[in-house]
């Protein structure tokens, strides 16, 4: 087992790369754990100080003024742009709305009916836009035979919507704990690609160095035995890295494992880890160039993480980006992590795809390996 022993030894000489990746990962996890565990459970509308300049003085504009007065504090304001901006800058007003003369007409024609100045420094200033839009939307619905049914609008606006965050009866519904696990395991994907390609790739390039390999070729060590020990070394390294992530998640959130469908994260990580090991096998059979390997490690880990939804949720990514992401196992890995399932059968397609990628990487890697052996 000399080859195995020295594979591990050479790998451990690169331990700083592993430590660096894992440290970055755990720092991010630590930072995230405080955010992810916090859960917004209620929302409170705040009263804003607003100024209203009504040039229309129509029934509709009066209705709007009445509604806004009810929800906010009204401050006196002059119709002068500089003055308005100054008032907002000095935080005397949070927002100012100007209702134009042809207000009714613009509402009917669904044109931009109101000019709003708001304090962009305050997130709550957005609230005024929501209130105006809500009023106008309701008013538009009631518009019939040339007039607005303002009583109906008022009634609709008075209805309050009560939102309660309830337990769905599903024991694995999305919770803060689940968010933590999602984040944690999604980011393991990034680290696994980085570490496997960098470490295993670099070690393989040492062993496949033409001159060193010639010494192996003229030795009495059988090619098959040599390869067996090399693959065992890779498997050991991959298993150790995967185990570190699994054990760490158990240590950090061990008491809350029962709150999530943990087997999903576990199986998904193992399958993904295997798939990336096969990708590393392919890369190390294509190139021995250490610079290329280091570059691939960074590009593939960051690139696939980004387009597959590790950094940004898949829902926010464009169709074209996701279409490209589907050519990498990371996409399916993230999809399983983000899914809310009760059984692994529900994500069998995504698991199958990751395994399919593993087989494809392995086969192409073997072709390159055979070709190199013949050369």
């Amino acid at each position: 087992m000399t080859v195995y022993k020295y594979f591990i030894k050479v790998a451990l000489k690169n331990k700083w790369i592993i430590i660096m990746y894992i440290t970055i990962f755990f720092v991010m996890t630590l930072l995230n754990s405080t955010d992810a565990m916090k859960r917004e459970e209620s929302f409170v509308e705040t009263r804003l100080n607003i100024g209203i300049i009504d040039k229309s003085m129509s029934e509709l504009s009066s209705g709007l003024r009445e509604y806004l007065e009810k929800e906010n504090n009204i401050v006196d304001i002059l119709e002068d742009e500089e003055y308005i901006k100054e008032q907002i800058f000095l935080e005397i007003a949070d927002a100012v709305i100007i209702i134009p003369e042809d207000f009714d007409q613009k509402v009917v024609n669904k044109k931009e009916a109101i000019l709003i100045y708001k304090d962009d420094r305050k997130p709550q200033a957005l609230q005024i836009e929501n209130q105006v839009n809500k009023f106008l939307a309701f008013a538009n619905i009631t518009y019939k035979d040339g007039r607005f049914e303002l009583e109906d609008v008022k009634e609709a606006l008075n209805e309050s919507v009560e939102v309660q965050l309830l337990s769905s009866g599903d024991s694995y519904a999305r919770t803060g704990v689940d968010s933590w696990f999602r984040f944690y395991y999604k980011f393991t994907g990034y680290v696994i690609i980085g570490v496997y390609i960098a470490i295993i790739g670099l070690v393989m390039s040492d062993f496949r160095d033409k001159n060193v390999d010639n010494r192996r070729k003229i030795s009495s060590k059988r090619f098959l035995d040599f390869n067996k020990e090399m693959y065992l070394g890779q498997l050991t390294l991959a298993a150790a890295v995967t185990a570190v992530f699994i054990v760490a998640s158990m240590l950090i959130m061990g008491k809350k494992l029962g709150e999530v469908y943990y087997i999903k994260y576990l199986v998904n990580l193992i399958v993904f880890s295997f798939s990336i090991l096969c990708l590393t096998f392919l890369i190390s059979n294509i190139t021995r160039n250490k610079y290329a390997i280091t570059a691939l490690s960074t590009v593939l880990s960051l690139g696939t993480s980004f387009i597959s939804g590790v950094m940004v949720p898949q829902e926010l990514l464009g169709d074209k980006v996701l279409a490209i992401a589907k050519f990498f196992p990371m996409y399916y890995f993230v999809k399983i992590n983000d899914s809310m399932i009760k059984s692994l059968l529900e994500v069998r397609y995504e698991l199958f795809m990751q395994l399919l990628f593993a087989v494809v990487f392995l086969l192409i890697g073997l072709i390159f390996s055979k070709r190199a052996q013949k050369a």
């Binding site: 000399t2 050479v10 010639n214 010494r215 003229i218």
Partner: protein
């Protein structure tokens, strides 16, 4: 009678259009130090790589220890060691770890391996550097490590491919002495070099190669006896007219006269009293000279006569 360990017959190797080995032949008997001598790019390394099955060849036959050599001839490989031209070690492993790894490709037993590694370290004089990484070693020490990795498993047949390239004089002597010692301990050596002096000093037999062909083979003396020049006398005259050079051709046994800078190189074929005949000529013609010395032909002269080029070109 000594066993024939290496037999290479009519081997042809092409790299697309270039003919790297052109019906190359070689035979090595047990206990020999065979020198494969030739200029850079003449096919020495290609020949070794073909013999070791590191390269496929187009035609011919190669036998090691009486058996056909193939990439799967593991029993033959067990008896072979290679010291490649390039220092071929792991930069990330220490001296001891490197030697142990390469030994492990042949020897499974831990205790035997430990003993072999210790002996190899002792043999190449790297005892004080066992914990050093190769990048911390000087060129000469790296070459020694390269040798240790190739001989640690005590092979019967050792291929040394230009092991002294870019090595200081002290390390070169150490390496050459080591090779002699290996041979005395029973290893057969195939030594490629383009250094004439090394080949002359070390090898029991030499094959001269050029353009992928084996030109001649024999001991140093046999090779020198093959050429017409048996003695060269170098004279540097204070002044000499061209007519005088023509007259010199009449001295007995003179075959050629060559002017090289201020030196006149007078070549003689086999014959006695060449030096005294020349001195008589000088006295008779009242010539004055700055220096005068006699030289026996070198391997370079052999190569020059065979190819029309100098080996050092």
């Amino acid at each position: 009678m000594k066993e024939m360990i290496v037999k290479v017959k009519n081997v042809v190797k092409r790299y697309s259009e270039k003919l790297a080995l052109d019906h190359f032949n070689m035979e090595v008997k047990e206990g020999e130090i065979l020198g494969l001598l030739g200029p850079n790019g003449c096919g020495k390394t290609t020949a070794i790589n073909c013999i070791l099955s590191l390269l496929n060849f187009d035609k011919g036959e190669i036998q090691l220890f009486g058996q056909k050599m193939t990439p799967n001839s593991y029993d033959i490989k067990r008896q072979i060691g290679l010291v490649p031209q390039e220092v071929s070690v792991f930069e990330n492993l220490t001296v001891r770890e490197n030697i142990d790894y390469f030994c492990g490709l042949y020897v499974d037993d831990k205790n035997t391996r430990r003993r072999y590694v210790d002996e190899a370290i002792e043999f190449v004089g790297l005892k004080d550097y066992v914990k050093y990484y190769p990048k911390k070693l000087s060129g000469g020490l790296k070459r020694r490590l390269n040798i240790a990795c190739g001989i640690v498993h005590k092979p019967k047949l050792i291929f040394l491919d230009e092991p002294t390239v870019a090595v200081d004089a002290q390390s070169r002597n150490f390496i050459l002495e080591g090779i002699r010692k290996l041979n005395q301990e029973g290893s057969t050596i195939i030594y490629t070099t383009h250094y004439l002096e090394e080949a002359e000093m070390l090898c029991s037999r030499i094959i001269i190669m050029d353009n992928g062909k084996d030109l001649v083979s024999g001991t140093t003396e046999e090779l020198k006896a093959m050429i017409t020049t048996s003695e060269k006398i170098v004279v540097s005259f204070l002044s000499l007219e061209d007519e005088m050079i023509d007259s010199m051709h009449k001295i007995p046994h003179v075959v050629d006269i060559e002017k090289k800078g201020e030196d006149l190189i007078i070549k003689f074929e086999n014959g006695n009293n060449n030096l005294s005949n020349l001195i008589s000529f000088i006295t008779e013609h009242k010539l004055t000279y700055r220096k005068l010395y006699s030289q026996l032909p070198t391997l370079n002269d052999v190569f020059l006569e065979l190819t029309g080029r100098e080996l050092r070109d």
